[in-house]
Symmetry: C2
Subunit: 564 residues, 2 copies
């Protein structure tokens, strides 16, 4: 196992152009981290010097500490490893075995304290010079770099005074400690620093909209730096640094909790749908012609043919319905070549798509989707109390208000509320992000809800496959769901008549020919139907108010980020 010094994170690997200000800020950040680590190392050296006096003593703990050789399936013992999160009062006075990371360590004279971390759980470990810990063993312990993985055998003890800094309220008295794998001594940043309560500082960094003039960007940066300094000189790990070293950042407690909840959101989504007679489908992401005739697609060569990546499973999920799978869903990545550098756009994200036949009215769909949302939100609250608590320590958020029945407003009612508040809004055009947020605030004030449905969008704002309203051709049988003023779901009744479909495709100026297979699927008996799509990351991002969607995606993709 080599202990070579850490490589500085490679710069420019992602083709990002850094501004001078950015470089300066990063340099400062690096210097701070360096100083901190030097300080820590200084302490360590001091400790080591103290201990050098004792290395000559006889070692009564030979075999109780040391580095394990590479684990390569040499043997399978019947030993049981206990998870950190499962070590509690019920195990007091038992000797247990645990494998975890060293989250923190300090040696005070004849005492060594470690904190072990597994997922988001932590436990305190003590070793006191004596029968179970020789001077040599204490020295060895103090030399293990943070984040290394260790196997520790220890006695579970009730501590003399309550442990506030760990999740587990019992402590471990070491019997043996073996290093499974060592970490490099210097990390790209400290887990502790990356776990601090988030400030607006971090949120703003990535939000450099292309529309914004350079001058304004620099103003924002200056403001950020000022804010940085007032944060009691605490190190702030910038979003870019986190994302460049994502594996380390994902180890922070809030991230550990976020992605556990996110897995649960997918489960809740499926549970509800399967219970309601839906089946899961898988449709191709490699598409011939042009996906939905739209722009913003990633293009590629498929052997000798021209192909693109699916912007959504829209056309395919509708074709599945025409193939008699009457209620379907799909959870899969979708791809958008939009050059949008905002806090809520991604070039690849997980779309949770739904499509179902309806008998008469698109409210059949709308009601079911409302129930699905309630099921998911209540499920998160019920199943993930611990995770919610952990996330809120880093990303404080107001509880999500969702009175029942779910509030439904028409687009025209929404426009009226905006007009009454003195906001300009064309009743026949889409809402922009600012007006969406404003309307969200107005709705919260008036109706006390963080979640509502806006329906009957203007025709101009919706894609060609949207069914127009029978009573007003300027509006459509479509809807969006909003959480905290931002869209998480978009849906509609679809056109199931091939001639009307062709008419609408032409009206949008899209070529009909590449859509032939899709259009033809409605020619052999078509079921009236509708559907919608949830953005998985958006649900988590807005439920927990994570400020930036990148906090809800393990390895995000935006116009400048393709690594790691």
């Amino acid at each position: 196992m080599s202990d070579q010094p850490v490589q500085p994170p490679e710069q420019g690997a992602e083709g990002e152009q850094k501004s001078k200000k950015q470089l300066q800020r990063e340099k400062k950040e690096a210097e701070k981290a360096q100083k901190k680590q030097e300080h820590q190392q200084g302490q360590k050296q001091q400790q080591q010097q103290q201990q050098q006096q004792v290395v000559q003593e006889e070692d009564n703990c030979v075999g109780r500490y040391g580095d394990l050789s590479l684990i390569q399936s040499q043997e399978r013992t019947q030993r049981k490893w206990i998870k950190v999160g499962d070590i509690d009062q019920t195990l007091v006075n038992q000797v247990i075995l645990v494998r975890a990371r060293i989250h923190n360590s300090r040696v005070k004279g004849k005492l060594a304290f470690l904190v072990l971390r597994e997922n988001y759980n932590t436990i305190q470990v003590v070793a006191e010079k004596g029968e179970f810990a020789s001077a040599q063993m204490l020295k060895y312990m103090s030399g293990i770099p943070l984040e290394s993985v260790v196997d520790i055998e220890a006695l579970v003890k009730q501590p003399n005074k309550e442990i506030l800094s760990c999740t587990q309220k019992v402590e471990l008295e070491v019997r043996s400690i073996k290093v499974v794998t060592r970490s490099l001594p210097m990390l790209p940043f400290q887990i502790e620093d990356a776990s601090r309560r988030i400030t607006d500082f971090e949120d703003g960094v990535q939000e450099q909209k292309q529309e914004e003039p350079q001058q304004k960007q620099e103003e924002v940066q200056q403001k950020q730096e000022k804010q940085d300094k007032t944060e009691k000189q605490q190190i702030q790990v910038m979003l870019k640094t986190r994302l460049d070293n994502r594996v380390i950042d994902l180890r922070t407690p809030a991230k550990q909790a976020i992605f556990r909840v996110q897995s649960g959101i997918g489960l809740l989504f499926r549970e509800f749908l399967v219970e309601n007679g839906f089946i899961e489908i898988h449709t191709p992401k490699l598409i011939g012609g042009t996906s939905e005739g739209g722009t913003n697609v990633f293009k590629l060569k498929y052997f000798n043919q021209d192909a693109c990546l699916a912007q959504s499973p829209q056309l395919y999920k509708q074709m599945c319905l025409m193939a008699d799978y009457d209620r379907v869903f799909e959870v899969a990545p979708v791809f958008r070549a939009e050059n949008s550098n905002t806090h809520r756009h991604q070039c690849e994200f997980i779309s949770m798509d739904i499509e179902m036949v309806i008998k008469e009215h698109f409210t059949e769909l709308l009601d079911l989707m409302g129930d699905l949302c309630i099921y998911m939100f209540k499920g998160i609250e019920k199943r993930y109390q611990k995770e919610i608590e952990i996330i809120s320590q880093q990303f404080p958020f107001e509880p999500f208000k969702i009175p029942e029945p779910v509030l439904k407003l028409t687009f025209e009612e929404g426009v009226k509320m905006l007009h009454e508040a003195g906001v300009n809004q064309d009743p026949h055009d889409d809402l922009d992000t600012v007006n969406e947020k404003t309307l969200g605030k107005l709705v919260r004030e008036k109706y006390g809800t963080d979640f509502y449905i806006l329906h009957r969008y203007p025709k101009k704002a919706r894609p060609f496959y949207t069914m127009p309203c029978h009573d007003d051709p300027n509006y459509t049988l479509s809807y969006d769901f909003f959480m905290r003023g931002e869209e998480i779901v978009s849906g509609a009744q679809r056109v199931h008549d091939p001639e009307l479909l062709i008419k609408q495709i032409k009206e949008k100026g899209i070529a009909v020919e590449p859509l032939k297979d899709y259009i033809d699927s409605f020619r052999y008996g078509a079921y009236p139907h509708g559907g919608c799509a949830f953005g998985l990351e958006r649900v988590a991002f807005l439920y927990f108010n994570l400020k930036n969607i990148r906090n809800a995606c393990m390895f995000p993709r935006d116009p400048v980020r393709l690594f790691p």
Copy 2:
């Protein structure tokens, strides 16, 4: 609703070059279908002539039949539609409402018989001239094209004699019939023809391996044509025709059942893993550099950067483990630019990936994965009896034999069995498809199982991230799972030591630099781990012995197919 004649399926849209033989065969097929439809239409005309005598009679059923206007959310009544599959003895003497397709229709004098189909369920409908059916109404009914979607109100009746041709054993006496949407009168092929018991004929068509010389391909085709003629002149719908008109083909009962079971396989997979502490992750499909340093990747431009599509989530799922998510799974598409035109390769398929930490030995993983397979196979059998029955009508298969405990053989033991059977096999090289199948047969004969695990593959046969055996560097801690002699799962313990990893990357002649983020993820304390990947389509394809993997994928992608 236009009733324009059906467009002939567009030729060459997929850039496929058709051989003369192929064109001839397709022409014959089309002629047969044409004749059949003409025959049917002839019958219809005769019926209509008979009925013309009566059109002048008074119509006592006005308002009980006709085409509905476009369903556009005009109103929402409180009517309940019953699913065809739910209409049984318990509803006898009740008037119910059903929406379904017309699967079949015939008029005999004053009697009209329809068969309605919804998903894979069918029910007989009768109308007799009298109080509930006028001559005009019978005429209207006889003119509705097959596959049209209708709303029928009807009295549920116990039939005089058992109905053998439908899934539902009661019949419906019409009260009203409304066409929701009409099908074009001529279909690309008949559902009935596409539902016939599969013969080797169909299987062979797509299997035109590039390696095979043109002459051999033509021999195969001649054999197929001969076979075709001997099949009592029944129309065989070729795989290509099915795939070109996939929405129609997916309506056949076996396909309806296959994709319902496939959705269930995904559920069973998740259930087991969630129960065992795994979380679901989502990793990017757009990858910077080269995915796993391998060949056979689809390349594309990502804004100004070079990118490719993920061949697998391998590197990312391992990085998730290094980020302390200790048990993860992902169900997502993967992309392989392999020019393989075989019965079991696809260029895009659903990979069900698993990765987990292990404490000591890769059998921890292997045992759990064996249990997972048992859980899935038993779950299919238990939950999908009806679907299994339906699938076996078109794709007859021998029940899947899987004695417990799961049979585990080492690669060396497998090689020995092959050698004893007189088959050549290099003990240090991978099995090819033929030897895999042969070994499958030998194993079935000797151990009576359709499912077994082969482990300790030679180093040459496995990727760079595979952990070598500690006792023999020529072999690895890897394994494949086989169903009916074909691979469904591939997995291994992985290398978690960065220096060993770099050594193995170099040995395979792969560039180290693009893998930097991945390699670095093992530098900050690494957990020993392993994992595997299931091909979702392969599980369904081999469980049901569907002959061709395209029968287990809704919209398959192979080197020549990118549409629909």
